[in-house]
């Protein structure tokens, strides 16, 4: 573990190596590729929330000149049930197939039914409108309360609740129950002087990436099929498509385009298998498919709506004695909400003896949820942190002090079993308390909220080849789609390890055929795990260069020392630069490339603490965020600007979740706000500057101390913002979003 002061390049704010292309419009994203002979594909989507498909008649569409192919669920070869990697979690292959194209039953407004390829986009759209479908409508199930009620309409006749002691006799909309305990929850509440219990609601939200899903697929009978798409994990796209279409992995190349945001939502497939089937049915002509914004909202993404009950007890001195939660998460139309992850995270910032959490994964007639930045944690933390802040207020304690008094530290046992290794929660809380923001006094109609957040972070498989060029520069061949500037960090880590300037290294995100398997960019793993693979590849190169020098000098390799890109004979005075060794590599055994293929362990969790000040217009209910500070443990910030950017971006998304964002459905289960005008993500004019404070408590299991930083920043803002509103209007907030209409209701009910 290097001392933080020893770094030469790490911690500097270098210009990102992909910057020129991104500010000039040259960078190619998902929808930017055009191939010769290319067709356009369009999906036909359900106009109903829940219905049986009685009949599909495509004859008029087929007769339209320019229509080349039509595909339905029937074109999937029989799909066996198997888990396929999807970001931080996995997805059941049968559910994946039935989500991509409905199998006899549509389960949400926008559920895809069939795909059509035609010579132009306009013809494909026209053909979609010519398909006739007869539906038998079923009652939509749109809320957790309705879904779990006795006699509820069932989405799936074959869904039986997992996680119960005995297999239930009847099918249910509850897919999974999971639970975690430690200590004795009843004894914990008996020991409490004050207890607060509340039930919270968070609505369905969308990741809101600005780039819609897009791909180009080209089928080839000789096993040279390819897909170009915007994805967080092109290896997972390859695995999913190959599985659904019964292909071997070597028959399909997937290239990750530049990606215009994902936040977890681009860890699965929607269009890609359909485009490849359409290409096959069109004789191998490439097929391009691009979702419009309405399709993005209706059929991709969303994050779970939740109903969470939380009960916390504490002694008068501020010691928390018991924490209990009952968490219901909507999965959308198919099982797989992050309820369990929410349960693991909700009380993670607290070293409390008695805890009890029960989690439920509930299906409803909404789009199948996808991962959304720290999946499951923001909703749970909203509920947990609101109650902790209320306890602090009841005890007349500073909300940071109560969190410090009960803080998780190294050695605290997590509710899910293991003990935490070194963590930086106390350091984050202390930094928040000492921040200029926290010292500032509030004015009338203003309120302040504090909240903590925890995310595990993951490591996983990364593969890197560092190819040295004859001039001594290096190409970093990695396979982690760069979603937020990670190539800048990769360059800095290679530079640090080699002791050579960053501009000597060019990172590229290779396709699935030009680098070995990489897990997707998710779980805040890329800078941590792919960075470790780069360090390993760089060490491999250094070792080889030393051996080449030893051969040239006819000495033992151990006598060769590496000093900042120069090898030195410690038993003489010869020196050779890396460039000289690489230029002469043909005479010493061939060109040099280093390899780092790893399954990284030891990802360090990252705690975050946010402080939010709001001002509420009590006449209209409008909330303005007037000051915001995001504190988070980075372990070691490789590129501080992009670390700050993660904190600020997470905060902004969380503020949107707290204040405005929600899916609004009508009584028929149809989405009413599938556009950016009515689904309002934060604008530049909605936000203040967001102070980012980087805390660095090194992760001892990473060579540079790195912790993932991408996700924890979205966990605290829901409660930090909502509690600030509650503090300003002197009334409890239990439902999100704190939109003007909702806040005004709370104000009026409280008078």
């Amino acid at each position: 573990m290097s001392d933080t002061n020893d770094f030469k390049y790490i911690g500097t704010r270098s210009i990102r190596p992909d910057g020129f292309d991104k500010v000039t419009g040259k960078a190619n994203y998902g929808a930017d590729l055009t191939l010769p002979g290319m067709l356009w594909g369009k999906m036909l989507r359900s106009p109903h929330a829940h219905a049986k498909i009685k009949r599909i008649d495509t004859s008029k569409a087929e007769a339209l000149p320019g229509v080349m192919a039509i595909t339905t669920y029937a074109d999937f070869p029989s799909v066996s049930v198997e888990a396929i990697a999807a970001g931080e979690g996995s997805v059941d292959s049968l559910d994946l197939a039935r989500n991509i194209m409905a199998d006899g039953k549509v389960l949400y407004d926008g559920h895809a039914i069939l795909g059509i390829a035609a010579t132009t986009e306009a013809i494909a759209e026209k053909a979609v409108s010519l398909v006739e479908i007869e539906y038998e409508l079923l009652p939509p199930v749109m809320d957790i309360r309705d879904a779990i009620a006795d006699g509820a309409t069932l989405l799936h006749d074959d869904l039986f609740t997992e996680g119960l002691d005995e297999k239930p006799a009847n099918a249910s909309n509850i897919a999974v129950r999971s639970a975690f305990q430690k200590g004795d929850i009843d004894a914990g509440f008996s020991a409490a002087d004050v207890v607060v219990e509340r039930e919270f609601y968070t609505p369905t939200v969308h990741q809101g990436y600005i780039e819609p899903h897009a791909c180009v697929a080209s089928f080839d009978q000789d096993g040279q099929s390819m897909i170009w798409c915007c994805t967080q994990g092109h290896f997972d796209v390859r695995a999913s498509v190959a599985k659904l279409l019964s292909m071997s992995l070597s028959q399909l190349k997937v290239t990750a385009s530049e990606i215009g945001g994902g936040f977890g939502g681009k860890t699965t497939v929607y269009l890609e298998p359909v485009a490849l089937i359409l290409s096959r049915k069109s004789g191998g002509r490439p097929v391009k498919m691009v979702m419009n914004r309405e399709e993005v909202f209706k059929a991709s993404g969303p994050g779970s709506a939740t109903r969470c009950k939380v009960k916390v007890g504490a002694k008068n001195d501020g010691t928390i004695t018991a924490m209990q939660g009952q968490l219901y998460y909507e999965a959308g139309a198919f099982k797989g909400s992050p309820a369990m992850l929410g349960g693991m995270c909700i009380f993670a910032p607290y070293d409390v003896e008695n805890m009890d959490v029960e989690c439920f994964d509930v299906v409803v007639n909404k789009p199948k949820v996808a991962a959304y930045r720290a999946p499951g944690a923001p909703q749970a933390a909203f509920a947990g942190e609101m109650v902790v802040s209320e306890i602090a207020a009841k005890l007349n304690m500073d909300p940071i002090d109560i969190r410090l008094q009960n803080a998780t530290t190294e050695g605290t046992r997590a509710i899910y079993g293991p003990k935490y290794k070194s963590v930086g929660l106390v350091e984050c809380l202390t930094a928040a308390k000492n921040s200029p923001h926290y010292q500032e006094a509030l004015k009338n109609n203003q309120g302040r909220g504090i909240a903590s957040g925890f995310w595990f972070n993951i490591g996983g498989q990364s593969s890197v080849t560092l190819n040295m060029n004859p001039d001594g520069t290096g190409t970093i061949v990695e396979g982690s789609p760069d979603i937020g500037g990670s190539r800048a960090s990769m360059q800095l880590m290679a530079a640090e390890e080699m002791g050579m300037p960053p501009e000597n290294f060019k990172p590229i995100v290779a396709d699935t055929e030009n680098v070995a398997y990489n897990q997707s960019t998710g779980g805040s793993r890329t800078t941590f795990a792919t960075g470790m693979a780069i360090i390993k590849a760089a060490q491999d190169v250094k070792e080889q260069v030393k051996q080449r020098a030893a051969a040239v000098w006819n000495i033992d390799a151990e006598l060769v020392e590496w000093v900042d890109g120069v090898v030195v004979n410690t038993s003489g005075d010869e020196r050779l630069t890396v460039a000289q060794i690489c230029a002469g590599a043909d005479r010493t055994g061939g060109q040099i490339s280093g390899r780092g293929n790893i399954n990284a362990r030891g990802a360090g969790p990252s705690f975050a603490v946010h402080v939010c000040d709001v001002e509420v217009d009590t006449d209209t209910g409008k909330v303005d965020v007037i000051r915001y500070t995001a504190v988070q443990d980075a372990g070691k910030a490789i590129h501080p600007s992009y670390v700050e950017g993660q904190y600020q971006g997470g905060a902004a998304q969380g503020i949107g979740w707290a204040l405005n964002e929600e899916y609004i459905y009508n009584d028929d289960g149809l989405l009413q706000n599938a556009g950016f005008l009515d689904y309002r993500i934060p604008l530049a004019s909605d936000l203040p500057m967001i102070d980012a404070i980087i805390v660095e408590v090194p992760n001892k299991l990473h060579p540079y101390g790195v912790r993932g930083v991408g996700e924890s920043g979205i966990i605290p803002p829901l409660a930090a913002t909502a509690y600030a509103v509650s503090d300003a209007i002197k009334a409890p907030i239990v439902d999100l979003p704190c939109s003007p209409v909702n806040v005004l209701k709370v104000i009026q009910n409280n008078v």
Binding site: R13, I15, R16, D18, G19, F20, K22, V23, T24, G25, K26, A27, N28, Y29, A31, D32, T34, A122, Q207, G208, Y209, I210, E211, P212, E258, I259, G260, G261, G262, F263, V290, N292, R293, I483, G484, G485, H639, S641, Y642, E644, G645, Q648, G649, G650, A651, A652, Q653, G675, F676, L677, I681, P682, L683, A684, S685, D686, L687, M689, I690, A692
Partner: protein, 159 residues
Amino acid sequence: MPKIHVNTIVNGDAVEFLCEPNETVLDVLRNELQLTGTKEGCSSGDCGACSITVDDRLVCSCLVLAAEAEGKVIGTIEGVADKDQLHIIQQKFLEHAALQCGICTPGLVVSVQALLKESPNPTEDEARLYLAGNLCRCTGYDKIIRAVMDAAETMRGAA
């Protein structure tokens, strides 16, 4: 219905194209002229990723019919840099790390250029309001606004 023949100037180049009556400037830029730097995020004028200038007026190219481009002067992201010399705004975006995924960046750069042309010395609030039509989901706007203010100051110094 026959296609419409349009003559226009794009980033200083004389350009002619054929379009359907219902096609937008965005469709033509991306699919006919292969100028894919202008991005499509919503096709309803809500996200600003497709921002361009038409006769120096900042517009969402998804809301302008291609046929309306006849005789007009169009500016897109591809025309902002002076050959290999980045515009100060582009340079400041890079220095301030004002982009993460970068999909909103072309539209933002075009909008910021229009802002600073109209108002070379904007306050932070003015900049935020002017750019309220350009959605960014990654950055929280902090570094974008810092880049804009820095670019404005540098451009005033250079003028």
